[in-house]
Symmetry: C2
Subunit: 141 residues, 2 copies
């Protein structure tokens, strides 16, 4: 079991993205929806292998983008918690993002007024500093 989550910790450190979006949505209390995600990105070339991973871990769903990137998206809070709690002991690069996400999920449930909402929104802002883009060249031989 630990092996399974250690693998996913490595996969997330290497390739995964942890973030929260705030989307305008009038059906929500403060006109904004707080939408957390963990996403893995891979080329469509390995779609069968990603499908197998998704079935084995039984979390999230796959989306094929127009640019032939597959996204393995974990968007529901229960599974985000499950994933983060299980990988946490093994994560090396993205521990701060994992902790921040769990904090936000906890705070989110307790939002009672606009001030609470703004506090959570400010925490979400912290992802900006933690996440980084990696423009890389992959050499092919």
């Amino acid at each position: 079991m630990n092996i399974k989550w250690a693998y996913l910790a490595g996969f997330l450190d290497g390739d995964g993205s942890i973030y929260v979006r705030i989307k305008p949505n009038k059906t929500y209390k403060f006109n904004f929806q707080i939408s957390p995600s963990i996403v893995f990105f891979q080329s469509k070339k390995v779609i069968e292998k990603i499908e197998k991973l998704q079935k084995q871990y039984q979390i999230g769903y796959l989306r094929i983008r127009k640019d032939n990137i597959i996204e393995w998206i974990i968007g529901d809070e229960l599974n985000i918690r499950l994933l983060l709690k299980n990988i946490m002991p093994f994560v090396r690069l993205k521990k701060a993002q994992d902790k921040l996400m769990l904090e936000i999920l906890n705070d989110k449930k307790k939002i009672k007024d606009k001030d609470d909402f703004i506090k959570v929104a400010k925490k979400i802002e912290q992802f900006k500093d933690l996440n980084y883009s990696k423009k890389r060249k992959i050499r092919i031989y």
Copy 2:
């Protein structure tokens, strides 16, 4: 121990690159040097964490590129073998590349004439089909 290698298998599947370069080099028998590499790419932002990984696994070295990407490079054959053999049971996406690399390392030692060399070069060509570029956008929030 397995946990350690399962993590690295995930990290390699997510972010690593496995390839072999053939470089012109007149000091080598057939005027070409066969140069295998396993490389992990990360932003310079996480350099301390990558240094820790490199020290813990005791393989390879770090290189900081001008574009602020750190490369953790494993270039010596002994350590490439060590790494591949240990992660092999846990690798999900790049098993074919791992096997091809081990095959090439074995064949390389047995090169006796130009024909042998060309056979190895043809195997190296197979990386072209196995590897793929992943142009991705990382959303930052």
